[in-house]
């Protein structure tokens, strides 16, 4: 089956296999920021945005994004042109192995798109379904609060 959808601002017309997950489709399309952790919806490593909202791509049928707008970390920034959220994660020391980072950043992006002045408690609630085995979460919360401050100061895109 072929579907149209928008990936990071570009139209795609691709073949999908029956029962294929969005995670599998995105990785086939070269979006290697999308990580497979548990593959059962539990860990959040595979989080992407569909029409601006965070979903778990490992338990989303690829067929469901037909006609929708999908954003992966590649759509926010690139190594030579980091998004402020990516810079904030580096500055706060919120990245260790990095496996959870794309999902964390996209989850944070959704939060900040609705609320650019979240409390630490609101940040923790937003990332409560994203597991990180390395950092202990504190620096991730710091990074998101720092990015929120930058966003309020107009340093954003």
């Amino acid at each position: 089956m072929k579907i149209y959808f928008e990936l990071n601002g570009e139209q795609q017309y691709v073949d999908i296999e029956p029962g294929e997950s969005l995670l599998s489709l995105l990785r086939r399309l070269g979006m290697k920021s999308v990580k497979q952790g548990c593959n059962t919806g539990d860990c959040g490593a595979c989080t992407v945005l569909v029409d601006g909202r965070a979903v778990r791509s490992c338990i989303t049928f690829a067929a469901k994004v037909r006609g929708r707008r999908v954003t992966t970390l590649e759509g926010l920034g690139s190594p030579g042109d980091l998004h402020p959220l990516q810079e904030a994660f580096l500055e706060a020391g919120a990245v260790q192995c990095g496996f959870c980072t794309p999902g964390m950043i996209l989850t944070a992006y959704e939060l900040l798109s609705k609320n650019d002045n979240p409390t630490p408690e609101e940040v923790r609630a937003a990332i409560s379904g994203n597991l990180c085995r390395c950092t202990g979460y504190r620096k991730i919360v710091d990074a998101i609060l720092l990015a929120a401050k930058w966003k309020r100061e107009g340093r954003w895109r």
Partner: protein
């Protein structure tokens, strides 16, 4: 990692087509947060899936004077954003404890109900509010109480070809106090070891009426009606509720599993009632 198995997804145009496809053996698919995982784990292998998430007739929340009709495609996150969750606090309390933000964005209340898990967090408010399920099937529509819809773990009263069209949630009379707590090993993403939801109507200083619903302590969500009656006339204080808490422990029929033993679940159920008294009496 590539596939879940070759499952075709069909997108019906309207309810009539959905019903026909389900009658032919297709499995209803909403958010997929239960079904996708079950298919991937090989627990289920339906011949094909009927995607209901975009059916126009299943969308939206219609607020009426006496209650609200929640379309079967409405997600937990939509519910939490709607005026309904402000109007009925027990819905907000229970649903905001379900899964994690992205799971609530994808999963639906109707899917939670059709899944018929005794641990389903969304079922607790449906039992407490005495919601009814509006079904569409080959023989037309019918409406049944939630308690008659859920028959056992994973078992429902759905007949061949039937789908949930919407849930009717009546508003409670007056202004009951609302309580919900689930006990698990951590805050997000837990399947409850035991959970308790309650609506308590005070008359002066004592309980005038009570509804209780327990999760994960019986084959289905449980309304312990003898305990509800035993609460009437008692002050909302832990000491006064101790005998009722014991009665509640005895009313449960828990199982032992990986997450907790039956004895522990029984004890937690009773303690949740005391916790309810403490947290509701400190509500100001």
């Amino acid at each position: 990692m590539r596939k879940t198995g070759p499952v075709e997804i069909v997108k019906p145009r309207d309810i009539a087509e959905a019903v026909r496809l389900v009658k032919e053996g297709g499995r209803p698919l909403a958010g997929g947060t239960d079904l996708f995982v079950r298919i991937r784990k090989g627990i289920e292998n339906p011949p094909f899936l009927v995607y209901l998430g975009e059916l126009p007739e299943l969308q939206g929340i219609r607020l009426r004077e006496e209650g609200a009709e929640v379309g079967a495609a409405v997600t937990h996150a939509e519910l939490l954003r709607s005026p309904l969750s402000a109007r009925v606090p027990i819905l907000r309390l229970a649903i905001s404890a379900l899964g994690a933000p992205a799971i609530r964005e994808m999963g639906t209340l109707a899917g939670n109900l059709a899944n018929a898990s005794p641990a389903g967090d969304g079922l607790i408010p449906l039992y407490l509010l005495e919601a009814t399920v509006r079904l569409a099937g080959p023989d037309g529509e019918r409406e049944i109480p939630v308690e008659e819809f859920v028959l056992g773990p994973g078992k429902t009263a759905l007949r061949p070809g039937e789908i949930i069209r919407s849930l009717w949630i009546p508003f409670p009379e007056g202004k009951p106090l609302s309580y919900f707590r689930k006990v698990g090993r951590r805050r997000a993403l837990v399947i409850a070891i035991a959970s308790l939801g309650a609506l308590i109507w005070l008359e002066g200083d004592v309980i005038g009426k009570a509804r209780l619903a327990l999760g994960s302590v019986a084959p289905t969500v449980l309304r312990p009606r003898q305990v509800e009656e035993a609460l009437v006339g008692l002050p909302l204080e832990p000491e006064a509720l101790r005998p009722a808490a014991e009665l509640l422990s005895r009313a449960t029929q828990p199982i032992s599993d990986l997450r907790a033993s039956a004895d522990y679940r029984r004890k937690v159920a009773g303690n949740l009632l005391l916790d309810m008294a403490i947290s509701l009496s400190h509500r100001d």
